[in-house]
Amino acid sequence: EDSLVHRSTWTLRYPSLEEPHISPHHLSFIIILTISHCKTTKQNRYPNPSRQDKRDLMFVVSSLRSALSLGSISSRSLAKSSLLSSLTRSARSYAQVLDSIPKPGDEHYGVKHPDYDKFLSKRGRLYGPSAIRALQPLVSSPGMISLGGGMPNPDLFPFAGLQLRLKSGETIDVDETLLRQALQYSPSDGLPELRDFLLNFQAFYHGHPQDVSPPRAVCVTNGSQDGIAKAMEMFLDEDDSLLLENPTYSGTLAALRPLQCNLVGVATDHEGLDPAHLRSILESWPQEKKKPKVLYLIPTGQNPSGSSLSDRRRMDVYFLAREHDLLILEDDPYFFLQFADWSERYLSLMSLDVDGRVIRFDSFSKVISGGMRLGWVTGPKTLVDRIQFQEQATNLHASGLSQAVLLSLIDHWGAERLHEHLDKVANAYRERRDLCVRLSEKYLTGLAEWRVPQAGMFLWYKIPGVEDTDKLIMEEALKNKVLMVPGGAFNPEGKATSYVRAAFSTASEQDMEEAIKRFAGLLRTEKDRKR
């Protein structure tokens, strides 16, 4: 049993949103939790299966709790008495208990696979597999000699070996075979060993829906930004509309501009994207206009607002996506920069994805190195394969050196130490968040408003009385020698806003204090000036 890794599946059956006011007496929901066992890869990177179980059950409990807040007293007491107590027993008996709760017609809650083909843009359709690569299978025929490939001869590559020195003082000698692989052209979806590791990694941290068709696949990209830019190109024609948060990451806006599609900003608040607004946009969409089919969001520690989509809202958003047949592009580079305890953290949209409609973008930029340009896309194989075709026609593959260095580090650390490192990183950012919030309270009370972020590296200040922070920053901030990013850069329409983004990732304690002091001085002057 030591070699087994638990993977869990659950199908979330949610109260019908067709009735906007959920009648407590009609509340019914079923959560089916199936824990299935499957073998790990030879490397057995993930010990301690019960950690995953615990997290699964915590998720079920918290979703139960939020759903129950709408439920009838009788449901609640039924749930509390038999359901919650049975959580501590095996999953099977738990499922039996759940079966006893009345449920609506099953067909409404069945899995709804999107028809991926209809989501592709004109351009997206024209990326195809390389014809020369199609000859690859012939190369491995017995006795075959190939003068086919266009690879350069590695005898000319001057590198013999690679050694890494860690801050801990340890040294790692990069495996020679791995280095050889890394220095030559390699597969467009990533070095096979890294790709396999990442599939396991995703299964551990996000669960893995059983019997999903098409299966889940991973493609390594040149930073997650590369994957996002490619996905945008793959789905959006000029007459398409993209749903996205307002505000959102300026880098994505830059990647979208050349596509010239319509950007539809969805309102956000301190809990992230507002599902009610999303629903109203979709329901009131004019018939003549091409209906939006893709939603892009940054659900954890969002850049720039720092907000994180609550668990309840994640389910709402996913359910809306099912209802309106949307694909969800989940951009989640700050997922491991969450400040809560692991068992309290937000779960990804991908972990809810029973339909295969979520494409997830992960990054090692914040936790290992931004300069190495390593990110990866996870999603339904049909779609991830197409990202791979785009890689083939552009950068060919992410830097082999970066991949080899990462693999060597992970091999050296093992899953446990990697997990510890992720812990360390989150702790460090939490301390910085605490510092930044403390200093903000000390100097900016009465001058600016903000919410405390639960993840990431940004604080999003609202400056009451200032309509256009662009002007404020560009003129006054530089004079006062403090720099923050005006909110207009993150607005899908480029409109001016009252917001300003501060990052607490790199400044030292003294610098942060000085910066916030100067910012306070600037705001006070502005306030006085207005009076």
Partner: protein, 369 residues
């Protein structure tokens, strides 16, 4: 690599490339091409994740739907793969032993005058797949045509440092020195219409994904903006590692390394030509390449090499790439195959070409029947 070097490489960096690396590139370009610009500020370089990446960015930057681009026919399939999603007219220009024909380009530019011709894409040294290298005279002719029709030139030159000249080692008494390389389009570019794409893939490492684009500052800036919005910048680690070794070598070390590389590929070229003569006389035709790693072989009695390869390759146990895969129109038959001489050992090459000969003779017999 240590200290601030490694720190800089591991953090987000400039989309144009790491400053030290860019400096090295600029120095290199000045030495190799004597850029015909009045001041250094008028031309710029941008590091990309391989030259293919730079090419893709340039295509996206320059071409709208319905624009026309002229390419050699046959050409590098990676470029065609990058161009097809852009919905542009891809017009193939025929080649002779000196590369793309200037008269054909001129004529086709006239023919397509109403279809918004924008640029011509070519691989002037050791072309993939034909192995062709354009002479300086032909390059001047193409430049003149392009300038007259007001289009840009995209010079894709990954085999620039693998130029060794036509003459076989058997033909020269003295030791090997690099024959006088033709001048690059970039060097001849009086009118500033050339964007040049270089690569470290063949001489330093292909897995590092390092290339750079050089050209008029305005165009390079646009390309860099495109990179900013997609992958941010080429891997800092790759750049840092490359720079470390390039700095250690210095200019003399680099020159020596590329000389070795050219000699290495020249020896292999000589080998495959000797073996081709030995096994395939009378069965095929080819031109001796002066650069790169490919031999472009015409199978004299075969109308469609693709059918032959795909059907016979497994049983014949020899693989080469059918010429049709390099054509602008992938459907029309081609008598050509591309053989690469970069990796195979002498024994493998010998056996491979023997098998090709057997394959062709068997095919000839079948046709005769």
């Amino acid at each position: 690599m240590e200290g601030s070097d490694i720190k800089v490489a591991l953090q987000y960096s400039n989309s144009y490339g790491l400053p030290g690396f860019r400096e090295w590139i600029r120095t290199r370009q000045a030495l190799d091409h004597r850029p015909p610009y009045a001041s250094d500020a008028e031309w710029n370089v941008c590091v990309t994740s391989g030259s293919q990446h730079g090419l893709h960015k340039a295509f996206s930057m320059l071409l709208d739907e319905g624009d026309t681009i002229f390419v050699e026919d046959p050409t590098y399939p990676g470029a065609l793969a990058s161009l097809r999603p852009l919905h542009v007219n891809i017009v193939g220009v025929s080649m002779d032993e000196d590369g793309m024909r200037a008269d054909q380009l001129d004529r086709l530019l006239e023919v397509h005058r109403a279809h918004r011709p924008k640029c011509v894409y070519l691989i002037p040294t050791g072309q993939n797949p034909t192995g062709c290298t354009m002479s300086t005279e032909r390059r001047r002719a193409i430049l003149e045509v392009a300038h007259r029709h007001r289009i840009l030139i995209l010079e894709d030159d990954p085999y620039f440092n693998l130029y060794y000249g036509r003459s076989l080692s058997s033909e020269s008494a003295e030791g090997f020195t690099i024959a006088r390389r033709p001048q690059s389009f970039f060097e001849l570019d009086q009118h500033h219409i050339v964007l040049r794409f270089d690569s470290l893939s063949k001489v330093l490492s292909s897995g590092l994904r390092l290339g750079w684009v050089t050209g008029p500052s305005f165009l390079v800036e646009k390309l860099q903006l495109h990179q900013q919005a997609s992958c941010l910048h080429a891997s800092g680690l790759s750049q840092g590692v490359a720079l470390a070794i390039l700095n250690q070598w210095g200019s003399a070390g680099w020159s020596e390394h590329v000389r070795l590389a050219a000699e290495f590929y020249r020896a292999r070229r000589d080998l495959i030509v000797r073996l081709a003569d030995k096994h395939l006389s009378g069965l095929v035709e080819y031109t001796v390449p002066a650069a790169g790693m490919f031999l472009w072989i015409r199978l004299t009695h075969v109308a469609d090499s693709r059918a032959l390869i795909l059907q016979e390759a497994v049983s014949a146990r020899v693989l080469m790439v059918p010429g049709a895969l390099f054509q602008v129109n992938g459907q029309s038959p081609s008598s050509f195959v591309r053989a690469s001489f970069s990796l195979a050992t002498e024994a493998e090459m010998d056996t491979a070409l023997q098998r090709v000969a057997d394959l062709l003779r068997a095919h000839q017999q079948r046709c005769a029947q």
